[in-house]
Structure formats: structure tokens, C-alpha cells
Symmetry: C2
Subunit: 439 residues, 2 copies
């Protein structure tokens, strides 16, 4: 983030949304010496724990008092620094948990992602018994629109935080901000990200001279990999200026710019005809209401015998995005269930050829990111501040937990036009050799 | 079919449905010297060809007169033997085409499956322009119910035709009446059917001592393969008596009966807890209305870390089964689209791990069956009659065409409980060696 105002995001909380810098905005409540807890506050926390399925969690209040769980032995302690934090948490835990953690008003003894996984698993079971009103109170929120101008703003919000920031903790190989492919569990993040790129190219059966359209190309790593390793020509679309600047410079440096055109435009404006269509980690930002447009787009630009691959975070069943992630981290995000996902294929009269779920690969990817982020924590607080660093920890830890607890999935879906009979005989060719680069 | 009444199915056309033998019932219309064609009849055929998307097809009428297509050069000739056949065809071509062909009142010059593929491809495009009334007239029909007693009758209708009949044209290896796996295009049907069984076992990651529930086990080949090659214990369910008699005898002969229990019961009555659940080629007979029950069943009987595999004919988008196939061949059949298919997983809070589409493998399987069927045509007309043989040819040719034209798909879906974290690291282990048996 080059904008110097980013160093004090909180000061911008009360400005109109459009003028605020696109970084996390956090509650400002401070906690001076607080009054003693009331008994109804203890009762509320007990109730909250029961509604959350009685996880092994205790609360420590601002006066040092402990509220133990009734039906479990505590393995984690959540410290609340003030009574307003308690009320905020109880009223809307989905949103407030992340906000209060980020603000340092909710502190955790124990591993944050392990705590989050325990919470996910308990809440997942417990919420079947929630009364309707509680469901509405805790879970209701409307995702932002993802029309073209809103999409630009939503993406800017997250991806223009600054290349320097992401470089601190993403892989050194190709700056991949999507799920890696741990072909075997002990490879490095760099190997796993390159293996992901290779795995995707193999699924697309790329051959030299082919043309590829890429929707949402991030820092351009897949486009460069495809051009470099497979000799294909790529039109790669993105609406994040900072990412594109990096992508173009890197392509020039690698002398691949004659094969790659990085285009600053919305994916819906892709034109031409391509042997392959690929999109890695964009669909979850597209919004369900834009799936028909996505379908029509691919129908329009994919050649009759071309293959398409969409890689996206998903769900086991349709549900809204977690409120805090949607509001603070990924505005407009909606991870589709697999039945929602394949409506893109069905509406375009495509034939689904292959679906692979890489759920635990994303948990492992995120664990690497978290470790590297922690290793550069001082730099992050120097560039931004403690609030921002804690928010990012919550986001990474919560995501690790969500993938491990099965609340999120990672689907790769390969499909083609319904009339295409030039299909791969089997998937054996994908696995003939390891996808992990040598050396 | 051991019942001697089967030799004259037509005589039973007017009996109440329950008393009829469960074989094809066909129109009885004969055609004595017919009158001259009327001009409106020629006009109707021209109209039919245009509504079907102007395929390269001509009609030859009962007096030898030709009706050529207006917008194509004929590659196939359809001969109509009488004027009533013409009117029946025009009124409800979906149902009548198969019936008239079976009765010999519609005859084809040219390869039947190639003709059917051409028709599928043309109609597929043309039907987007059909007026609503025509859609209703030609396509509307209500699939039979598939409650427990109806399911028994629907299955009896097709699968109790007689083991001797199926033995004439299915593979000699394990009597597989489902899609084979042509790992490479030039292997034999026997190799491809064994490769299918092996491929399924690998996807289920079977290990010695595991327990498996199989719903709809046919002649029991998969159960025997799993017991023999993987040392697992199988409970295999089927409601076809003749198939089960064969399955049990074959298991005894192979000394596998200590590992396999073949159970004559509806799949909904499966009980116990299993490391794997598998069903090959049953889901398309289950009916969409029973998908929730299927989902609950698997949720109930699959162990927490177990894997389930469903293999079924499917569609690229939701649509009803072809009227003739549904009425004459597979009562109650409904091939689901992939979005409908995975509702089974989503309603049971399962996680979809792997989807593979083997569409063209089924076209190849059916081509083998057709060749073998033709090689035993005399035996078939000896056991049944010419009507029956022609109906079966229409069924096999139409199915080859449907898979080649993309009207039908073949999905294998692997899934597990949403909370299971004991997942295979990747799919590489499935492909380490060939699935085709040696020697």
C-alpha cells in the first residue's frame, strides 16, 4: 500500500465509504478501568457457549474473573478486555469475534487456528438446533453487489493492499495467492505452488501454440508458467492495477511478453476464441448472481473442442459467507456449493469432465502463509499497525480452521462444450510423472 | 426368461399390466396392401424433418415414393411400411420411432446408431426453436413411480429377462451390464470391464479387512472382484432374483462366499456400518424423488472416515428420459444432471471429492455389446422373436448415439462425510499402475 494514509486506518472510520482507504476498518472502542461484571453478563457468556455447542473454551473477564464452560473442560481461554466487548460479542458473534480480536479487545490463550477449528466444529453441529430468530440475528447479512464498478472496488479493497505486503508471506516462486497442490505432504510451499500450476496445465491438456484466456490472473504467475513451460499464448485479465504492473514487469524480465497480454479489464469483457479458458481463485469473488454471465462468457470464447477449468473456494452446501470475512476481508465474496458451481456448466450446455476437491491442500497452504506472516510480523506492523496485523492473523487462522473443519472446500472443475468428442481417454496422462518441479 | 409365455409378448398387450410377462410389449398393427399416400402426409413428413433440424434423411413410403429432405442431401433412408405408421410417427416421434422400428414398420437403410447420432445432434439444436405445444406433444410423459414395490417391478421388467440372454452379449469376465473403463482405446471389453472394477476399488481406497455395502449388485461381479482382489467383506443388495441366484452360485464356485453376503432386499433397507459404500449403475433407476432417501441411507451406513462412490448415467442438464426408453426399456429411469446428482451429497452434508465423466467409454462399451448381440441374433429370435431383437437393437443403437451425441453422460462421484480429514493426499495413487489386468 503506497498511500500513506493507510498507516492510520482507524481515523477514517467515520468518513464516507468511497473516500476511505481500502484497508481494514476496525472498531475504535478503548477500555479504561472498567466496572465489575454483572451477573447477567456471566449468564450471557454461558448461554453463548451453550449455543455454540459447548466448546472447551472459558472466558476471562476484564477483572480477571473466569467463566468456565458447563459441559466441557476448557482448553482455550478467551480474554475480554471490557464490558462493551462482551455485549458486542454476544449480540453478533460472527462479526464481532474477528473485530474484537483485531482490536485486541478479545485475546486468545492457545493456538488461534486450533481454537477456530474447535469453534467451527462445535458451531456446525449446534446450529441445527438454533431457533430461527437467533439464526437471523447472528447470520443475516447481504453480500455486496458485484456489478462491474463494485467488482472493481471490491477487488481494489483486498488486492491493492500492496505487492510489498503480499511478497512478505506468499511463495517466492510465482506469488500465488490461491490454494497450492501438495502432491506429497512434505514439499515446500514454492514446490506446491508450481505443482498447482503444472497440475492445472495438465488438466487443460495444453500444447504449444494453443491460445488461453485467463480470467483474474493475480500477479500473472499462471500465465507466465503456461507461456514458459507450454509455449501457449495467453490473454490474462485482471482489474487490479498493482498486480498487473507487477505481472507485466515480470513477463518482460522473463522475456515472455511476446506470448502474454495482460489486460486491465473486467472478465466479462474477454473477447476472441481460445483453446482453453482458465480462472484460478476468481469465481468466489464473482457472486452467484453473475454465474449466468460467466457461463455465457465461456460459451462465447471457448473453441468447440476447448477445455475450461475453474478453481474456486466452495462449500458442501449452499450458505452465506462468514460475516466478518465478507465485511472486513473479501467484500462480495460467495463460495458456491458444488451444485451451485456446476450450474455454470449446465446453463452453458457444457459437459462436466472432472471435479477435484483440494480442501486440505488449502489448509496446508494457509498454514505456510501464517508461518511466514508471523515471521514478518514486525514489518507488517511497521507498514500498517497492530490492528491490521491481528486482523490478518484472524483471517488466516480462521481460514485454516474453516478448511480443516470442512466449512470451506476447494473445487477444481474441468468442462467442455457438450458436443465435443475430442476428449482425453482417461486422467492417466495427468499422473504419468510428478507435477512437482525437479531441483 | 424361463417363463414360456415370453415367446409371444404381443398376445399379452391387452391384459392388465400386472399379469403381463415383463418383456417388451409392441404395437401389433400389420400392413396389408395400403392405399396411395395423400399429399398432406408428404407435407407432414417434410414438416417433421424441418422440426428435427433438417437431418440428412429421406423417407421412402409404402408405395416406393421418396420424400427427400429440403435442406440436406439424404445419407439415410427411413422406410415406412404403412400409412398408420406415418401418422403415429408424426404425432409422437419420440415414442413411435422405437416402437415402429421394433415392429418392422419403420426400416432403416444405413447404420442405425449413426443415424440415431445424426438425429440426436440435429434435434438437440432444433428443439430450442420448438413452440411450447410441440414440446408438450412430443416430450411429455410421466416416469413411473419407484416406491419399493414399483422398484421391484421396474427392475424385474428389465433384469429378469434371463441370465442366458445377457450372457449372449455381455463380457465373459464378470457379466457387467454397466459402463466399462477403456483405460486405453484398444483393450477388449473383458479387459475394460475388469479395469472398471479395479478403477472403482482404487477410488474407494479399499484395504484388506474393510467392509463394503453395495447397492444394486447386478450379477455380483464387483462384490466378487472386491473380495477376491482386495480381501474386503461385502454386503451386496439386489432385488432381481435371477441375478442373485447367479451371483451366489458364482461366489461359491470361486470360494468367496465367506466374504460376500448377497442380500435380496431393497437398497433402502441396507443396515450396518461400512468402510465404503458403492453403487454402480443403480442411481439412474432410483428416481429423483428418492435421492433424499439415498442420501440419508449413505449418511446412516457409512463410517465417519468411509468413502462412497456412485456411478450413474447422467445428463448435462436436467431433462426427462427419452420416452421410448423409459416406456419400453427402463421404466422409472431418470438420469440426473450433475447438479441434481450432487444434491445427494449436499443433503447428507457430504463432501464431494472427485467426479469423473466416462461418457465416451459408455459409447464404446455399447458398441461392443451391439457387435456381440448381432453375432447372436439368431439365438435371440429363437428365444424371443424378431420384434424383441429389433427393439433391443434400437435400444443399443440409440444408447450409443445418445452417448456419442452428448445427450447422456456417465458420472462417477466419490464423496465422504463433511468432517472426515483422513483424505487421500491426491489422486496419483489411482494411476500408479495400469488398471487393466495383466495376461
Amino acid at each position: 500500500m503506497s498511500d500513506s494514509t493507510a498507516r492510520d486506518p482507524i481515523a477514517y472510520e467515520n468518513q464516507p465509504e468511497k473516500q476511505r482507504p481500502h484497508v481494514l476498518t476496525l472498531p475504535t472502542e478503548e477500555s479504561p478501568a472498567d466496572r465489575e461484571p454483572y451477573s447477567y453478563e456471566r449468564w450471557l457468556l454461558g448461554k453463548l457457549l451453550r449455543m455454540a455447542g459447548s466448546p472447551p473454551v472459558r472466558f476471562e473477564l476484564w477483572n480477571g474473573e473466569l467463566v468456565e464452560p458447563e459441559e466441557a473442560t476448557a482448553e482455550f481461554t478467551l480474554r475480554l478486555t471490557d464490558h462493551k466487548a462482551l455485549l458486542t460479542l454476544v449480540t453478533n458473534p460472527n462479526l464481532a469475534f474477528g473485530d474484537l480480536y483485531s482490536a485486541g479487545r478479545l485475546q486468545v490463550d492457545g493456538d488461534l487456528s486450533e481454537l477456530m477449528e474447535v469453534l467451527y466444529r462445535h458451531v456446525h453441529k449446534a446450529q441445527r438446533q438454533w431457533p430461527k430468530w437467533l439464526e437471523a440475528l447472528w447470520r443475516n447479512h447481504s453480500p455486496r453487489s458485484t456489478g462491474m464498478s463494485e467488482a472493481r472496488e471490491n477487488i481494489h479493497h483486498h488486492y491493492d493492499l500492496g505487492n510489498d505486503f503480499y511478497r512478505l508471506w506468499l511463495d517466492d516462486a510465482e506469488m500465488q495467492y490461491t490454494c497450492a497442490y501438495f502432491e506429497s505432504p512434505d514439499i515446500t510451499l514454492e514446490q506446491a505452488q508450481l505443482a498447482k500450476l503444472e497440475h492445472v496445465c495438465r488438466k487443460l491438456r495444453l500444447k504449444p501454440g494453443m491460445t488461453v484466456a485467463e480470467a483474474g490472473c493475480g500477479w500473472g504467475g499462471l500465465a507466465r508458467y503456461m507461456a514458459r513451460e507450454y509455449g501457449v499464448k495467453v490473454h490474462a485479465y485482471n482489474i487490479s492495477k498493482e498486480q498487473l504492473a507487477y505481472a507485466r514487469e515480470e513477463a518482460r524480465r522473463q522475456k515472455l511478453d511476446h506470448l502474454i497480454e495482460y489486460i486491465e479489464d473486467d472478465y466479462r469483457n474477454i473477447d476472441g476464441q481460445y483453446d482453453a479458458f482458465v480462472s484460478i481463485g476468481m469465481l468466489e469473488h464473482v457472486g452467484k448472481e453473475n454465474f449466468p454471465a460467466m457461463s455465457q462468457l465461456i460459451r462465447r470464447v471457448l473453441k468447440p473442442n476447448g477445455l475450461a477449468l475453474l478453481h474456486s473456494i466452495g462449500r458442501n452446501r449452499p450458505m452465506l459467507m462468514n460475516a466478518w470475512i465478507e465485511k472486513r476481508i473479501f467484500p462480495g465474496a460467495y463460495p458456491p456449493s458444488i451444485s451451485e458451481f456446476v450450474t455454470i456448466c449446465e446453463e452453458g450446455e457444457f459437459s462436466v469432465l472432472d471435479v477435484e476437491n483440494l480442501r486440505l491442500h488449502y489448509a496446508q497452504t494457509l498454514t505456510h502463509w501464517m508461518d511466514r506472516f508471523q515471521g514478518h510480523r514486525e514489518q507488517v506492523t511497521d507498514i500498517y499497525d497492530e490492528h491490521f496485523a491481528r486482523a490478518w492473523e484472524m483471517y488466516l487462522a480462521g481460514s485454516i480452521a474453516a478448511f480443516r473443519a470442512g466449512s470451506l472446500q476447494l473445487f477444481q472443475v474441468v468442462f467442455t462444450h457438450g458436443q465435443n468428442n475430442e476428449l482425453p481417454q482417461s486422467r492417466r496422462d495427468i499422473y504419468e510423472t510428478s507435477a512437482v518441479p525437479e531441483g
